[in-house]
């Protein structure tokens, strides 16, 4: 009964989103205030019914209703409750439902926090989001309903959730990522509304900015969580694999980063308008492409995609309508958008534009690297991967250039800036970063290393230029505390995010250069040394979990005779899925992680293959990612985005 209710609620939600996609937009085109007024209640109704539908699926999971196919394939009665609930988004159908649900949540949020927005703009934005929702809910209902039944004969127990996904990381990672993906739909809807109405002014940019920033923050947090999850769950100690799923989330993030900066310039200076619109369309298009590439299984196996031609066809039509439609609109309407000011060759505008281009080039690099194996696979020539050598070779130089111009653009002035002025600003940070970069590898490592020099120099450069810019804010002021409270939250957010970039760069540089690892056969009582730490294997014993049994090793770690920590890595055997999982045990630290994973049992004397990693500064990767996300979040609470007068500005 409950699953049918869920399906029914989904059908009703489709009805509401279809009306949302038509009536308010038509009202905006004909200036009919009554029809435009429908947008808000429709957004609420759509959200309500998707919420009901989502709760129905949650209910089916919580109560082990294995007559529902999706539940039977992704859950099990032995699964702990938190994993039963997170299994909702453990597969294709449920992920799509979560996607649609989050989309309706963003639509609702726009309708609630939009007091300053003119009615026709609001109607258009919500209408465009209604169009997207219509497409997605139709896709769900026609090809991927999570509520289909096994009736009358259904399995006594479920097939269980993939053990890899039975983890805290999976509970939070996908919703976070989807909040980001889908959040870009708001920026997209604002861009389409601007194209439809022909109005693209500072007020428009100010309305779009908080939505874009928060979506970007969620996406960044989602990517960070994903990297952290892969690190501790996959048992290889890697933190980024350039795998298609990761790339799918990185592309919109890169374009989103460009969009944030371009929007800032559009608001402050009234230029880059057409470029901003294009980026907004791109960011969401890449989110869509990414979601589908991942969810349709087209990347893991092209043949699974083709074996369900209905699904594949639907996906393609959806992509064509949304992306193709918006790009067509852009091609025809973008010429109406005029710049309001000009800028010189050497100015903050120009430098930000260069940064934008770097970011977009990185996104294109990732796109090509991701689609290339797909092309080969689609041609039926087998599976290949272009792998880290391709990505690293292109990413490191572009990233270094980006960091360089990032520091310069902070010091440059709007409109026009002089070379001598830049020199004065940047000489000290340049010297500091070169010195730190040169000295660091000698102090921390055992000699000069170009990679470390480059990484530390650019990180220090970002920190030093950011600090200098911050310090200069206090040049003409006596009261530091007054100035501190005078600076806006947006400004603090920007500082935080830029420092986050430096922290990530330091993490990447050091962990990829100074990591040490060893695979050893260890019998009980064996000891090994790695990076000054001594590891003693005390043997393994059997332990039992809720839905698995495991061999648990005990390893005592000492540093120069002093005990540091005792770690218990596990080799788990999941009974229902009959699969083995390596559960790494980690001693985390700000400056180093000790990471232990169990391989296979060797011989009869209780010996095991043990993998020992020493990972310096690995936490900085995620710390930096969180700093960036936090910075993005902070800007949203800036007072000026919530001033009631913004609508007056719009009409002025």
């Amino acid at each position: 009964m409950i699953p049918e209710l869920g399906e029914f609620a989904l059908i009703l939600a489709l009805g509401f989103s279809f009306i949302l996609a038509t009536i308010p937009l038509y009202g905006a085109a004909t200036l009919n205030a009554l029809w435009m007024d429908y947008a808000k209640p429709l957004a609420k109704a759509q959200f309500t019914f998707l919420l009901i539908s989502f709760m129905c699926l949650a209910y089916a999971f919580a109560n082990d209703d294995f007559s529902v196919q999706y539940v039977a394939n992704h859950s099990n009665s032995q699964l702990p409750m938190q994993f039963k609930l997170s299994a909702i988004w453990g597969g294709h159908e449920g992920s799509l439902l979560l996607w649609a649900f989050i989309l309706s949540g963003w639509t609702l949020a726009v309708s609630l926090f939009s007091r300053g927005l003119p009615l026709d703009m609001l109607a258009r934005v919500l209408g465009v989001m209604g169009i997207i929702a219509t497409g997605f809910i139709s896709f769900l209902l026609w090809t991927s309903s999570p509520f289909l039944r096994y009736l009358p004969r259904f399995p006594a127990d479920g097939a269980d959730l993939n053990p890899l996904l039975q983890d805290f990381g999976l509970i939070v990672h996908p919703p976070m990522l989807y909040m980001g993906y889908v959040g870009f739909s708001v920026a997209f809807a604002f861009a389409i509304a601007a194209l439809l109405s022909g109005r693209l002014d500072a007020a428009w940019a100010r309305w779009s900015r908080p939505w874009t920033n928060i979506a970007w923050a969620f996406l960044g947090a989602g990517i960070t969580l994903g990297s952290w999850w892969a690190y501790y769950e996959l048992g290889w100690g890697g933190w980024w694999f350039w795998d298609p799923v990761e790339n799918a989330s990185l592309m919109p993030w890169l374009v989103g980063t460009a969009l944030i900066h371009s929007l800032a310039v559009t608001e402050k200076r009234g230029v880059f308008k057409s470029w901003t619109l294009l980026l907004a369309i791109f960011a969401f298009s890449l989110s869509l492409l990414g979601t589908f590439l991942v969810r349709s299984g087209v990347l893991t196996s092209v043949h699974a995609f083709a074996s369900d031609p209905e699904r594949g066809f639907f996906i393609l039509v959806l992509l064509l309508l949304t992306i193709g439609g918006s790009l067509t609109l852009y091609a025809f309407k973008a010429p109406n958008v005029k710049s309001e000011s000009s800028f010189g060759w050497l100015s903050r505008e120009m430098l930000l534009l260069i940064n934008n281009v770097f970011l977009v080039v990185m996104a294109i690099t990732v796109l090509l690297g991701t689609l290339y194996p797909l092309l080969i696979d689609a041609l039926g020539s087998g599976k290949i991967s272009v792998g880290p050598p391709y990505f690293n070779a292109l990413f490191v130089p572009i990233m270094s250039l980006l960091a360089l111009s990032m520091g310069i653009s902070g010091a440059a002035r709007w409109r026009q800036t002089s070379i001598s002025g830049l020199k004065k600003q940047l000489l000290v940070p340049a010297i500091i970063s070169l010195v730190v970069g040169l000295v660091f590898p000698f102090i921390y490592g055992d000699g000069f290393n170009f990679r470390v020099f480059l990484g530390i120099t650019i990180s220090t450069w970002i920190i030093a230029t950011t600090a200098k810019e911050f310090k200069d804010k206090f040049r003409n002021t006596n009261s530091i505390t007054a100035k501190l409270s005078q600076l806006t939250l947006s400004y603090y957010g920007m500082m935080l995010a830029h420092l986050g970039v430096a922290v990530v760069a330091i993490g990447i540089t050091l962990v990829s250069t100074y990591s040490e690892e060893r695979d050893m056969r260890m019998a009980p009582g064996d000891k090994i040394e790695l990076a000054d730490y001594q590891f003693e294997f005390k043997g393994a014993k059997k332990v039992k979990g809720a839905n698995f049994t495991a061999d648990e090793g005990t390893i005592v770690i000492t540093l120069e005779g002093e005990p540091v920590v005792t770690l218990y890595p596990q080799k788990r055997h999941y009974t229902v899925k009959r699969s083995m999982m390596t559960e790494a045990s980690i001693d985390p630290g700000l400056f180093r992680d000790l990471y232990l994973a169990m391989g296979e049992p060797l011989g009869n004397d209780g010996a095991w293959a043990i993998r020992v990693h020493y990972k310096p500064y690995v936490r900085w990767l995620w710390l930096g990612g969180l700093l960036m996300a936090l910075g993005g979040l902070l800007t949203v609470f800036d007072k000026r985005y919530r001033s009631k007068s913004s609508s007056e500005v719009a009409h002025a």
Binding site: S274, L278, I281, F282, S285, V298, V302, F305, A306, P309, G312, F313, L316, L319, L320, I323, G324, L327, T328, Y330, A331, A334, P335, L371, Y372, P373, L374, L375, I376, D377, A378, L379, G380, S381, G382, K383, I384, S385, V386, G387, P388, P389, Y390, D519
Partner: protein, 177 residues
Amino acid sequence: MPRLLLFIPLALFIALSFFLWKGLSIDPRKLPSALIDKPFPEFQVAALLQPERMLSKADFVGKPVLVNVWATWCPSCRQEHEQLLRIAQDNKIDIIGLNYKDERAAATNWLRQLGNPYLFNIYDEAGMLGLDLGVYGAPETYLLDAQGVVRHRHVGVVTAQTWVELQAMIQALGVKQ
């Protein structure tokens, strides 16, 4: 003119979706190599397991061989490794490894752990030989005849089925000689 430029994103997207659509429906077919029926490129590269030993074409010309491009960063290579070991056991043809853009320690470790099906491995750290050969990615496998001429290129994982096909080709080579 600038107005026309605004259509570029749309045009690119249409091209992309055409290819995605094609990807849905296309018949499997082989990726041709620029080097088919051309001699394997000349090279002077160190061996993977014996860094002091320099390898060149002379080390394998004289009988048909398979050249398998692999790397530790390539998950599909791990997938085909079992099959390569079986081919080595069949003892019908030697496999030369081309360790492509990899780290020596990781690659050595890989062979120690998973077994070594190769007669020897060319350690192509910078990927220069791969470039000459026209390698797109890993894994790829090339069939060379006794004169060192590339006769066939297989892109992707070598499966049991691939081995059946390769054996037919190897036999054909033997007949011709």
